[in-house]
């Protein structure tokens, strides 16, 4: 699952169409669109709304710990040309001075820059950095449940010293996103690859149900069982653990003992 947090409906519309998102859901604190692999929430302007929408997605999501997170929107910049797509390599909350550094592990060749989240639209561009109103709300909340490599902020430059923010309209914002859809799609694909790599690691301990249906395991015994089955997967990946000898064990403690004895006798072959 990839969760996308955006501020305004106009900017979100091109992505909603591109990803084929449906089911406009307005029951929560923000409007949600989704399909099997993506959820997109329109949070409204400001870091508080971005943080709240992100937290809401985490609470209501099917699998927020194994998800990737992307904040997409428009931003100002002192000198970058309007229309440039930029990832944030440092996010600073202008109000608190706190900074975060999203790790750039996606492998894409993309422009990256500092991003400063402000409470009101920045018209003076005092630093040569991106200026937005959401990222510092989104990023730390998204990082609460997933690893930081899976959390990114992507901004399209909408205004600069030569093109003031007063000229930005919902229509022009949407057009800027449309022009960067190819790059956004690449980013989504790269994040999904990273997400899948992390997720694959966490999916061990298969066959658990076979065991727990066979006899009663206490919670503590289930933890032991999970560890033993993970060891089994590592040492005997080609051989399913469920066998006649194991089925003959009628109690959980006997099952665990048998598994442990068996695993300790398996010759270790590295690689």
């Amino acid at each position: 699952m990839i969760n996308i947090v955006m501020a305004f409906p106009g900017e979100a519309r091109p992505l909603i169409d591109c990803l084929g998102l449906a089911g406009r859901d307005t029951r929560g604190p923000a409007t949600l669109y989704r399909n099997e692999t993506h959820r997109l929430v329109i949070a409204g302007a400001g870091k508080i709304r971005a943080a709240a929408a992100t937290a809401w997605l985490q609470e209501t999501g099917p699998d927020s710990r194994h998800a990737a997170w992307l904040n997409i929107g428009i931003a100002g910049h002192a000198s970058r040309p309007v229309g440039s797509g930029v990832l944030a390599h440092r996010i600073t909350d202008h109000g608190t001075g706190k900074s975060w550094y999203p790790p750039q592990a996606h492998g894409l060749t993309m422009a990256t820059d500092n991003l400063i989240t402000v409470d009101k639209p920045e018209t003076g561009y005092p630093e040569n950095a991106l200026y937005d109103m959401e990222a510092a709300g989104f990023y730390p909340v998204a990082c609460r449940t997933t690893t930081a490599e899976l959390v990114q902020c992507y901004k399209v430059v909408s205004d600069n010293r030569d093109n003031p923010v007063a000229g930005v309209t919902p229509k022009s914002g949407a057009a800027l996103i449309v022009d960067r859809l190819a790059e956004i799609t690449k980013l989504l694909t790269a994040l999904d690859k990273l997400r899948a790599a992390v997720s694959a690691r966490r999916g061990s301990a298969n066959n658990l149900a076979q065991f727990t249906n066979h006899c009663h395991f206490t919670v503590s015994q289930q933890h032991q069982l999970e560890k033993l089955l993970a060891r089994w997967d590592a040492l005997l990946p080609e051989q399913p653990p469920w066998c006649d000898e194991l089925q003959a064990q009628q109690q959980a403690s006997h099952v665990l003992h048998w598994l442990e004895q068996h695993l300790n006798s398996v010759p270790v072959r590295l690689g």
Binding site: Y101, R144, E149, V198, R231, P237
Partner: protein
């Protein structure tokens, strides 16, 4: 090599920072106040970052020279370690750094002169010579073309009569050593596991042959290299694999011109083990016959004794007893 270089603002104008950045003109530079802001956050994935690590240039404040754990050493009475760098170019599956750090980014402390001041002070405080181990939190030489670490520190140690330096490495970056007169108080120690284990566990590490080539060159140039079998790894058929490795190494090296041979079994603190095995749940190394004793994961005692005993016995065929140093603490 690096797409991003993070730079502490305090070292932005340091000549070493400038020099290193000049080598990577395409890399995006990101400034930070302290390296920990980038390196230490909890929600990071070492394995994902290891595929594309960034470089962090920083200054090391305090705790630059630390005492080694008891039992760590090669005969010296006073043993210390210092880390000009955190993390390693190589990707060895057994390495404790994967469990110790959340980030796989390379931190390079550019204030070498501060390390020198501390080393000099520590060396002069005791009557007995002090040993300084440099390859504890990194590989001493692997990043040499960028860090210039050995090229800088060798002349310094040449002028320290009461100090010994151990450079520990799996790399073949020995040019800085070959370019100068050998030092009597510096040991260049190379780590090895058998070829089969190198293939499955030591990713991106030069082959046994290439490391041996580098060692032979050093010996011929007058340096006294060391050999490290640490960690000793168990797998089916380990006896034949270690026997072959020992034969190969001591066939090529002159045992009379070695400084030391040390060995230590595979061990990891419980917390590190947990973190690493979560990163690599399919790795048979972590699913093997391990047991926990006093917060440390290691091979079952019988197996550890068997493995260590076997290797010591085999090594006695090749090197004099006085050069053998079994290590009794965790890596």
């Amino acid at each position: 090599m690096f797409t991003h270089i993070y730079i502490e603002t305090s070292v932005a104008d340091h000549p070493r920072t400038q020099e290193i950045c000049a080598r990577f003109p395409q890399a995006t530079r990101v400034s930070c106040e302290r390296y920990g802001e980038v390196f230490n956050p909890k929600s990071q994935d070492f394995r994902l970052q290891k595929a594309r690590p960034a470089l962090i240039l920083a200054s090391k404040h305090g705790n630059r020279v630390l005492e080694t754990p008891a039992g760590y050493g090669i005969g010296g009475a006073r043993n210390f370690y210092f880390s000009h760098m955190l993390n390693c170019l190589y990707d060895c599956r057994y390495c404790f750094l994967q469990g110790m750090y959340r980030s796989a980014n390379y931190v390079l402390f550019v204030n070498y002169e501060s390390f020198e001041e501390d080393i000099s002070r520590v060396a002069q405080t005791g009557n007995q010579p002090a040993w300084f181990f440099s390859g504890y939190d990194c590989d001493s030489l692997a990043l040499e073309p960028i860090s210039g670490f050995a090229a800088h520190f060798l002349p310094f140690f040449a002028a320290q009569p009461n100090a010994w330096l151990e450079l520990r490495t799996k790399s073949t970056q020995v040019r800085a050593l070959l370019n100068r007169e050998p030092l009597a108080n510096t040991v260049v120690a190379f780590s090895f596991t058998p070829r089969e284990m190198h293939r499955s566990l030591e990713h991106r590490v030069p082959t046994v042959e290439k490391r041996l080539d580098a060692m032979v060159q050093l010996q011929q140039a007058g340096w006294l290299p060391g050999v490290r079998f640490d960690p000793l790894i168990y797998q089916q058929g380990y006896q034949a694999q270690y026997r072959e490795l020992f034969s190969e190494i001591f066939r090529r090296l002159d045992a009379d011109r070695l400084h030391s041979v040390s060995l230590g079994p595979f061990r990891l603190p419980r917390g590190y083990f947990k973190a690493i095995s979560r990163l690599y749940p399919d790795e048979p190394l972590f699913a093997g016959p391990l047991a926990e004793t006093a917060g440390m994961l290691s091979y079952r005692q019988d197996l550890e004794h068997e493995l260590t005993g076997f290797c010591i016995e085999e090594l006695r065929y090749h090197v004099p007893e006085a050069l053998l140093f079994p290590c009794t603490v965790a890596a």
